[in-house]
Symmetry: C4
Subunit: 187 residues, 4 copies
């Protein structure tokens, strides 16, 4: 699928519409582990209580994906068009968004250390790839002028977020609950 | 993910498009408990009849989500732009919309009292959060002038709905079927 | 949720976008019975062949939903705005579109007569509700002038379709395969 | 559903919006085999490792669908309107896009030769149907003038891709891993 360089890139509106679709589906799929759960007829109350981890994981990931959606829209609005590198970076970013229901499902299975580490890494990777989107947009020359100032604070903000987030990974081996509470504070 | 205050909020169109996507997916996921059902080859007729609770729950929730979609669009059309508080309130509202397939699946499992209460609470919470959306839009100053009058009738209307709806919760412990019929009348 | 008469209806664009979302998801969910199928490691070839009914049902429903999508867009383009009755009729129409993956899953389970009748009825109901959409748009006064002529041919066309389709229902009790082939000719 | 010739075709924007929805859902459904996987509580690490084939298949198909999305948008932008034949060709193309999660799920089940051949054929069919889209657009007279030159390079490019791709099919009977690596190089 090579040799496409002379063709114009998709418009920014389409990139936004496609990304919106992916975000909307990823955020809605979070409910599936709950709807798939077996609720036995005479035990509805206990079975609902047993779903508390799934429910917590769903709420957390809803907040996380919602936050990324807000950031993504702010990023697109700072751009004047779509560039080749930025389009690939956008797909990479959306890949991590689509992936998030998977660590969420893991997290919902209980307080396993590995699941918590995996979840923390998935969010760090999504954050990092949103930086990549910004960086490629700068290289493609599609950032508007006023965005340059914001670009700096965005860089530092996201790097600060990842730096603040990574310590939660060793923390999980001590206390998975503590790590998750620390996320609630950051987000 | 802090310090974003100097960035402009997403446009109202994007908020509508993203919300439309979430509504469309949530309303379509309602069919999954039916498509996942086991229909045995020589027993199609009986197995279809056994799905009547699932089918009733699906129709009810389709009407409920469709109604919320209509209300949400009317709300967005009364706004002149997107504000920070209103965006968060919109995500909270969409959270309850995304949640609705879960109590629907519970309801489809039979006439359990707990499932009926859970369903009633989920709808009351969705209604309440749609009020929050309206209230934050007012505080963000993004309501258009003519909307002020409608705002009042909307407040009272939704509060009246919740007041009319909450009695169905104790009613369910007497008669789950009665409670559900009472919803059909209100909606 | 009453007393909303003084509020303006959603714009036609939004109705189209929401309907597009519902169509896109319903048509994509058709693949789920295939992806959920168990394919055993040393028996890929046989297990794929065993999925032929599921595959045929998926192709047929993809064509059917695609056809309804085309018709729906033509209908919306003949309208000058959205009306109250027409909005409810549109939700009723979308309800039957969302329902279609269910008879499709039934059809994929084999050549059962009940499944075939159910499928035929579902398509007839979807067609009939698309007539309802057109009829309510006329009553809401949102049909454009040139559409009046087309409206007639649309009425007769759909009624003719349903009339042509209903005989396939008794036909299924004689030969489910014959009934399905007759659909392929009509569509 | 005949006799529709006198009605105008849907606008190109709607075709793009509907296609975007289908792409967004197909690409997001790729995560389902991962979220559905059973992860046992004390064995999270091993169970995650056991999912490596599913994960590889998901990443590959995400890249493939992302690439087709980019191509599809470039194609639509070269068109000045929607034509009847082109609309049907677009639905055929979307059919193969919707189908892709199925061979992906097969591929995720292991290194079976049949699964690999099936996957290769599915991608070749999607590529071929994207050619059909371009060809019908030319026949419908909805290609813009500057697109004529690009049309040629697009024809040759896609045919070259399919020619380069088909050898991977006999290659899979020798080495499924080798065939998959060859795709990584082409894409």
């Amino acid at each position: 699928m090579a040799g496409a360089d002379e063709r114009p890139p998709p418009s920014l509106d389409r990139v936004g519409a496609f990304s919106d679709g992916v975000f909307a589906i990823a955020i809605t799929l979070l409910i599936l582990p709950l709807t798939d759960a077996q609720i036995r007829d005479g035990h509805v109350r206990e079975d609902l209580l047993a779903l508390q981890h799934e429910f917590f994981a769903m709420v957390l990931s809803f907040a996380v994906i919602g936050r990324f959606w807000l950031l993504h829209h702010e990023d697109l609005r700072a751009m004047t068009g779509a560039g080749r590198r930025m389009l690939v970076a956008n797909l990479v970013f959306l890949f991590f968004v689509v992936l998030l229901p998977f660590p969420t499902a893991l997290l919902g299975d209980g307080y396993s250390v590995t699941a918590t580490i995996f979840y923390a890494l998935a969010i760090a990777a999504t954050s990092a790839s949103s930086l990549l989107l910004w960086w490629t947009a700068e290289r493609d020359g599609v950032l508007d002028e006023r965005a340059a100032v914001r670009a700096r604070s965005r860089y530092y903000g996201t790097v600060a977020l990842i730096v603040a987030f990574l310590p939660s990974i060793p923390l999980t081996s001590v206390s998975p609950v503590g790590a998750r509470l620390s996320w609630a504070l950051i987000i």
